[in-house]
Symmetry: C2
Subunit: 333 residues, 2 copies
Amino acid sequence: MVSPDLRQRVAKAVAEIGYRPNLNARALASIRTNVVGVLVPSLTQHIFTDVLRGIYDGLQPTKLRVLLGNTHYDDAEEERLVGEFLGQKPSAMIVSGIEQRPATRKMLEQFDQPVIQIMDLTDDPIDRIVGFSHFQAGYLATRHLIEQGYRHIGFGAGWVNQRSSGRMKGWRRALEEAGIFNPDLAAVSIVQSTRPEDVPVAPTNKHLGESTSALNGRKYLCDLLEREPRLDAMFCNNDILALGVLFEAHARGIAVPEGLGIVGFNDTEVVSASHPSLTSVRTPRYEIGLRAVQEIIKVLEGRDGGERVMDLGVQVMVRASTMKLETLAGQEM
Amino acid sequence: MVSPDLRQRVAKAVAEIGYRPNLNARALASIRTNVVGVLVPSLTQHIFTDVLRGIYDGLQPTKLRVLLGNTHYDDAEEERLVGEFLGQKPSAMIVSGIEQRPATRKMLEQFDQPVIQIMDLTDDPIDRIVGFSHFQAGYLATRHLIEQGYRHIGFGAGWVNQRSSGRMKGWRRALEEAGIFNPDLAAVSIVQSTRPEDVPVAPTNKHLGESTSALNGRKYLCDLLEREPRLDAMFCNNDILALGVLFEAHARGIAVPEGLGIVGFNDTEVVSASHPSLTSVRTPRYEIGLRAVQEIIKVLEGRDGGERVMDLGVQVMVRASTMKLETLAGQEM
DNA sequence: CTGTTAGCGCTTTCAC
DNA sequence: GTGAAAGCGCTAACAG
């Protein structure tokens, strides 16, 4: 406690001199760093930037900062970055997915602060995990198409990694249960998975192309129609792909949803405004980021909930592009 | 120099113990931090994530890491973050735009390491700036529409800040030069600018709405057509807005480009795949991020180029949505 | 309760 | 050349 006058004068001096506390020294002296290390596989896909928004918003009221790393979907890079970040003694770590290398996992397990995996689900998280089931997402999307009366349902994905292969397996399972699975109806450009058996289609269905583009969507529809002219619906690995399929349908004069049902993935903003609007699987990206940091804050404050696996779920947002059965009158925006 | 054997044994011990150098201590002892502070106003707009990609890619071969902050387009938050980041003694700073508060600018000027402003241009940068002219972008887009024969050219923007108002002024200037400027043809939802006089339209043209959405694009086209039925073209503040305009044109049966010319902004991937494909102004977002860190690396290595203002330019990518004059045969993809 | 001092784990410098 | 010692700017634990 000092006099307000002195307080004022000190503050003034501080401002004049331009004094800034050295946070490195502070971090070294105390053990707290107030830094959360965040590792994402990509900044290209808006999906991870939505997660980041949630993280930043959740961290806003705290004094925690973000140290962000981009692994570029590369195991080795992830391992390097985890090592580097851990050397910074962060207050917590957030990493994407569940496919860490054994060495990476070990480092993270030895780390004595909260570690949150995000964007996927497993019974055996490093510490805690908050995400949703990709299998369930693919399954629900495909079931929706089946219920709408579609029978020749394709799948399109620019590239297949561990998470999208989960969606793909959901697609396959739903079709197998209905007895209408056809492995020819998968259009996949690039497969990257540590376990190739994860991808439930024959390699003959693959062809090269860029990763995740609307142009690919157009191409996939062409390809699948060539293989199976009766194709009447598509579940797309992302919304941009779905938009591409829609554009190609427009260009070919195929009516959507009557002649072709389309389901996107992620439910990004653009799909609700297209004409016709697109059905899409809503993924809780923002919520995942927010929840991850909320859990971190809880643990750091000592009021740990103890929940290790947090499934935030997905939801099929039904719009005009799959309204085959219903009358469309008044349904479109 | 030690024997390979000993080297091996030490490495083994290091791995077993799980030793990690404490980077805070290192930062404190040396003055080098190997951290680049990056401040962006938003992570929602993919535009800044493209910049980030450039930054990360440019930093890849170095040992520099990124400390990322999100100002949410808030001056006060920017000031807070600059102070906080500077306390970390980063090796360099990257900040977005040129509208820093005086106090923020002063802190950055006193900082003795490279400071790069990005995404805009000014003759008077804090240290260096790499970007492009938003005025030129708006001017070129509008000139292109005029040259294609359009005469009632509207402008649409979810929200107008310092940079988009530059585009808007370019739009206005081009129309004034052609003697066809009509202030009624601006559809703008939210204006946020320190200098309201920057926005070259009457306030009556504003109405509320979400920031940057395809649904807004649809609404803007409706609004402008109501105000001026002869409207025959639109320059949109971003590609998603342009997509919304295209969807609304579809829905209303307006032919694009014959009845309505559309130009987007940023040239994101999706516009080249739409049907018809959309003309858009390509902005060098990735290149800006890359160049910014290349400049930083140059300065840190002591081989400073001395260039303070780096204009990376923009380019109108002409596609089907503005091909009014030419024959369209064979032009569309 | 205030003022002092001993480190935090490195890098750098200075003797040897 | 190698090895010991002196800080970097703070925080925390101590004594007054």
